[in-house]
């Protein structure tokens, strides 16, 4: 079994990754790391003590991050037992302007979703 995590280019993404690593360690499973950012992860961003499967977005087919994650989850549905996702509250204007990746994933994920928020302490850093 393994824990999947969708990592966006944001504080929520980093929090989600930290939480997912903790989950995987606690459950003693592997980690399916889905990179939604626009850069490739370097080695020091990936925990060494876990069995990590890294998936990068690449090509026009992965243009929509939600589709990219759902495709991966469907491919690994037998082994993934949860998806870890970072969320944050958004202003009304923000909700009108941009759709929420997190909301669409929560509603469409084939596996249970664990949502985490950025801790207050980290925000002030």
């Amino acid at each position: 079994m393994s824990v999947a995590v969708a990592v966006t280019d944001s504080p929520e993404g980093r929090t989600a990754l930290e939480s997912a690593v903790a989950e995987a360690r606690a459950l003693d499973t592997g980690l399916l790391l889905i990179n939604l950012t626009l850069h490739d992860f370097t080695d020091d961003e990936i925990p060494r003590d876990l069995e990590v499967t890294l998936i990068n977005r690449s090509g026009r087919g992965d243009r929509d991050p939600v589709t990219a994650v759902l495709d991966e989850l469907r491919d690994h549905v037998a082994e993934v037992d949860r998806l870890v996702l970072g969320v944050r509250s958004r202003s009304r204007v923000g909700k009108v302007l941009l759709g929420s990746v997190a909301q669409r994933l929560i509603l469409r994920s084939p596996v249970p979703v664990l949502t985490v928020q950025v801790p207050e302490a980290a925000k002030k850093r």
Binding site: D9, P11, L38, G59, R63, P65, V66
Partner: protein, 475 residues
């Protein structure tokens, strides 16, 4: 008008590209493909000179004159966005062949137009070909050229665009002064574009497909066949690995899309890029390239003289862009941009003042022409080519295709808006107010770029991306 977006960070050690036959073949390919750039220039520049007789024929108002000119740019905005998609799906060669066909149909449509509405429609179709060529030809050239010559091949296309405009100015001046009395002489001016369009169509039939596109479609055997025609045999074999690597990089560039604009620092870069396209057109460079002859007539020259004087605009455009290409490698980007916009504002103010200080007549017209060519020269020597280079390097690699698409679309639409509203503005407000407005836009551009534009010269693009993200990303 675009600088090659390809930069390979991975270096391949390759044997020499070859001598003799393969080099000769490459020269033929470059000559044929850059007819696309020449057509781009000719079709955008030809209204400058053709507009006056055309306007008399169809009884155009300043507003409908604007629409005749601008319809081509609106077509080009769509052609630029969708041309790249078509070229990815059906291949560079087939796309250029298709575009050559559209050039021919669009040109014939314009030449045979029975009325203004038909002409506007035909110019829109022609615009699709112009925009498509602007997106496809540099890619084809960049992909078929050996890596060490990639830059010079793409530069050659940009020079051909400006040369095409100059050619249009010269041909118009000759036709108008020799056969000016003939009815509907503008039809003959537009018809000249048929020759390079046919040359492009016939020439491209004999040119090979881009090896990089073939490899991206898994057609490695065919790619090797093409490489053997344009490289020495050793180099052809060795290059397959490099081309395969580059093709996979290309696929990555199409990754990012709309939802990535939710990332704050990426959005910031896209706003800067869109601003570059927006302000480049608001310099008014194309109002000179499309309406130069009219400006000189308004200022007090006879039509026959104005159309000759206008050639100076084309000459200084070509000189400016040659200087600009040289300066790109010498000066920091910010310095070059800010100097450029400062000079542009300065010459616009001088043009505006000339129209007030010197009474209308030949003296005013010649003074305006001097400042116009100085404006054109400083613009093409700085902001013109630099905008395209900057757009090709500020975006993170994985969103480059989408982000550049937005910026190029903004640029063409602004081009259309300036083309559409320049004649009515001149009519309603006069030259002083119109050029003061351009000067104001250049000042706003200066402030915008001073505050927002990052420096990219001599920086590793991956490092630039990390630094920019660290500075402007959400913490």
């Amino acid at each position: 008008m675009s600088v090659s977006p390809y930069r390979s960070e991975k270096q391949f050690d390759l044997p020499h590209a070859g001598v003799g036959r393969p080099v000769h073949r490459l020269g033929v390919i470059a000559t044929v493909a850059t007819f696309g750039g020449l057509l781009f220039g000719y079709d955008t520049g030809v209204v400058n000179g053709a507009l006056e007789p055309l306007s008399q024929d169809f009884g155009l108002t300043p507003l409908s004159e604007g629409l005749v000119v601008a319809s081509l740019m609106i077509g080009a905005a769509f052609g630029a966005v969708f041309g790249g998609r078509v070229a990815d799906a059906y291949g560079r060669r087939h796309t250029i062949l298709l575009l050559a066909g559209v050039f021919i149909i669009g040109t014939l449509g314009c030449v045979l137009a029975p009325g203004a509405e038909f002409l506007i429609g035909a110019r829109f179709v022609l615009g699709i070909a112009v925009g498509g060529a602007s997106a496809t030809v540099p890619v084809y050239l960049g992909e078929i050229a050996p890596s060490e010559k990639r830059g010079s091949f793409v530069t050659r296309n940009e020079l051909m665009i400006v040369a095409g405009q100059l050619a249009a100015f010269i041909i118009n001046a000759v036709i108008f002064n020799v056969w000016g009395h003939v009815d509907s002489i503008w039809r003959w001016m537009l018809l000249v574009a048929l020759a390079p369009a046919i040359a492009l169509l016939v020439g491209m039939i004999f040119q090979p497909e881009s090896p990089r596109w073939l490899i991206s479609k898994g057609r490695t055997e065919e790619a090797l066949e093409v490489l053997k025609q344009v490289r020495s045999p050793e180099r052809a074999e060795a290059e397959v690995a490099e081309v395969t690597h580059l093709a996979s990089e290309d696929a990555k560039q199409a990754t990012g899309g709309l939802s990535d604009l939710g990332t704050r620092w990426v959005l910031r870069l896209v706003i800067i890029g869109a601003g570059l396209g927006f302000f480049q057109q608001l310099t008014g460079i194309n109002s000179v390239m499309y309406y130069g002859t009219q400006l000189l007539t308004n200022a007090g020259l006879d039509s026959g003289v104005a159309i000759i004087g206008n050639i100076a605009n084309g000459v200084f455009s070509l000189l400016g862009i040659s200087l600009g290409m040289f300066l790109l490698n010498k000066l920091p980007r910010r310095v070059m941009f800010l100097t450029g916009y400062a000079l542009i504002a300065f010459f616009h103010v001088l043009i505006a003042l000339t129209a007030v200080v010197i009474p209308p007549g030949p003296a005013q017209a010649w003074t305006v022409l001097v400042f116009l060519v100085l404006f054109v020269f400083s613009m093409q020597g700085t902001v013109g080519p630099l905008t395209w280079l900057m757009l090709s390097e500020i975006f993170p690699m994985k969103i480059r295709s989408f982000a550049m698409g937005i910026c190029v679309f903004v640029l063409w639409i602004m081009n259309a808006i300036v083309a559409q509203f320049f004649p009515p503005l001149i009519e309603a407000m006069g030259m002083t107010a119109t050029f003061s407005m351009f000067a104001g836009c250049a000042v706003i551009a200066f402030i915008f770029l001073f505050l927002l534009l990052p420096e990219t010269k001599d920086k590793d693009l991956a490092q630039f991306e990390r630094d920019f993200k660290a500075k402007y990303g959400r913490k």
